[in-house]
Symmetry: C2
Subunit: 365 residues, 2 copies
């Protein structure tokens, strides 16, 4: 075996969320993800109460290990792992095994470029677990064999390990001219994205299959899409279209070039439940406890919705956009984006009515 650095599929680049604690930080602007965490909580409680067989681990188990993959810098990750830990503790109690409750160790994972210093400084001081940070790509191995009992990942698995090359090849039918994503794009473009996601999920599931002990649970929460629904009808799709429109406006005004827009593609993907089911079954290590879509919230407030979307997108995407276009365009770009959210508020609001959050709960066979 070897560590995460060598086994991993080559991750061309990684883009940390905005660090620190400022106005545009991920820390202050991750409430969509927080909403996802709250929604997933009930599902997590249910699967632990119903499906987690703690007797299968004890009494040899000295530590119950929980991993959060793509944890960013908090605070959502702390809320999520605390929920999991409490549900596991209740399960031990309900099974009359309170006296055998093991120590908990939580392994916080994200890319090497994540701001682990901020994460560590903000760890809850009264946490009832031993904390560790694990740097590296979850597209490769991160943990020893069969060493994990519960794996959680929220809004991380939609990041592809890389941008498919053909998207930026002017001679390819998948050349993604004038767009920044496969939203509203020809099928060649979305097929290139799908192929990459399929490869990434194969390596992800294979790595987790080795790391999760038999009987262990994995909960994946990420942007999802109903079968047959175009990506342009879910919230992130609308946002990516509006981001592309804003960039093309800037290109038309000569602030950036069209070639820069053509060569920029957001490496994020949202699968359907059927697609994820097929990928999990193809891997073969996990049984599916749950695979469905939920809407993260009913309707955003018209008055604040556009602003919230802008802050959300900026916190998550400023790094990757700055790297490609330069940081000097950022304020202008997101001002334009905010204007677009007003212009397209009907489309944005109806997208938020769509079920757009995929919850996959898997159990290691």
């Amino acid at each position: 075996m070897s560590g995460s650095g060598s086994d991993a599929v080559a991750v061309v680049e990684s883009y940390p969320m905005n660090g620190g604690d400022g106005t545009f930080s991920y820390n202050k602007n991750s409430y969509f993800q927080r909403a996802a965490t709250n929604l997933a909580r009930a599902a997590i409680d249910e699967v632990i109460a119903g499906e987690l067989d703690v007797k299968r681990f004890s009494p040899a188990l000295t530590a119950f290990r929980i991993a959060d993959l793509g944890c960013s810098v908090g605070p959502n990750t702390f809320v999520a792992v605390q929920n999991i830990l409490e549900a596991v503790r209740r399960k031990y109690e309900s099974q009359g095994l309170a006296s055998q409750l093991p120590d908990f160790q939580v392994l916080f994972n994200d890319n090497v470029s994540n701001d682990f210093n901020t994460l560590f400084a903000s760890l809850p001081s009264d946490r009832p677990y031993y904390a560790a940070g694990v740097p590296g790509s979850f597209h490769g191995r991160l943990f020893p064999d069969a060493s994990l009992h519960f794996v959680h990942s929220s809004y991380a698995l939609h990041w592809l390990s890389k941008v498919p090359k053909e998207l930026v090849d002017p001679n390819s039918p998948a050349f993604n001219k004038g767009r920044v994503h496969y939203t509203s794009a020809p099928s060649e473009v979305s097929n290139a994205y799908t192929t990459q996601f399929t490869k990434d999920m194969a390596t992800f599931l294979s790595a987790r299959g080795e790391e999760i002990a038999s009987g262990g649970i994995m909960v994946l929460v990420m942007p999802g899409i109903a079968n047959g629904i175009p990506y342009s009808r879910i919230p992130s799709g609308v946002m990516f279209d509006l981001l592309g429109f804003s960039l093309m406006d800037m290109a038309k005004e000569g602030i950036i070039s069209e070639a820069q827009v053509d060569s920029f593609n957001l490496p994020v993907y949202a699968p359907s439940p059927d697609e994820m089911t097929a990928l999990v079954e193809s891997n073969g290590c996990f049984s599916i406890q749950r695979m469905d879509l939920a809407a993260p919230q009913s309707k955003i407030e018209d008055s604040v919705g556009g602003h919230a979307c802008m802050l959300h997108l900026r916190a998550g995407m400023e790094g990757i956009i700055s790297k490609h276009f330069g940081s000097e365009i950022i304020d202008d770009l997101f001002d334009r984006f905010l204007g677009k959210t007003k212009e397209y508020s009907d489309r944005l609001n109806s997208a938020f009515l769509q079920g757009s959050q995929l919850v996959a709960i898997l159990k290691r066979k």
Copy 2:
């Protein structure tokens, strides 16, 4: 149980080594520690070959866990854990258990204020282990019960968890006027240091006793001192005296105040082998495999020795000195210190001939 944040003895302050990769960084100026690592290597190889009974862990063992306590930012920690890992691997092979070789997981520990981002970015890409960072004070619990198989700590345990209060109390007989350490100080001062070190080692050994699996090994390398030898005759003692002299010179010139010097004390301690033996026996969890002193190097070059000492002291102590006196005095102070090393080169050189590195090898009963 609870995590490191709550169980830990109150650590008043922590002072990270100079981060990054610049001229005065710990990363570039930790060759004394590197020399210690090289010297300890033979001892580590020997204890693993002779005393580590890997059959005691296998075949239930899925991961062999190595912790480095006070790892700083590298590269010494990477060299040390690689040495340990290779020696363990050889042991599995020599016992005919190569096919049962478990995964290795290395847990890199240091205070929360350590620059883990730099540590993670410099992890060897071809490392044959899974890496994790564990933030928190080793004066409290850091890991689950019985989850470690080999613990290493080099040049970290000499840091006290806090400065004893009486050292800065003008009404106490332990008031440490005009000095920055117990080197060359009255017995009341050194007794206050000894009392604090005794408390710190009690909590340290108690925590490690719970965390290390039966049969596991702990190697502690730190500044040490022969019984009956005054601290002023070992290298760090000479350096602390010269640092105190330099500060007092600056106080006499009015650059800083004498009160500032009086209220500043370096929270570092060097025990004798007999003292450490008594502390380990009082704890009761460990058998002593080895407890002795070695000289880290035969003799430093006159021409470079003072400069090397200055860089070494600056890399390790700039943080704590800046916090107390302000960063504006640092360049001046270390220029003066360099001058003192020339003035006192005989004393410094003879100190380097003393056995001044304590190697303690303990085995969990």
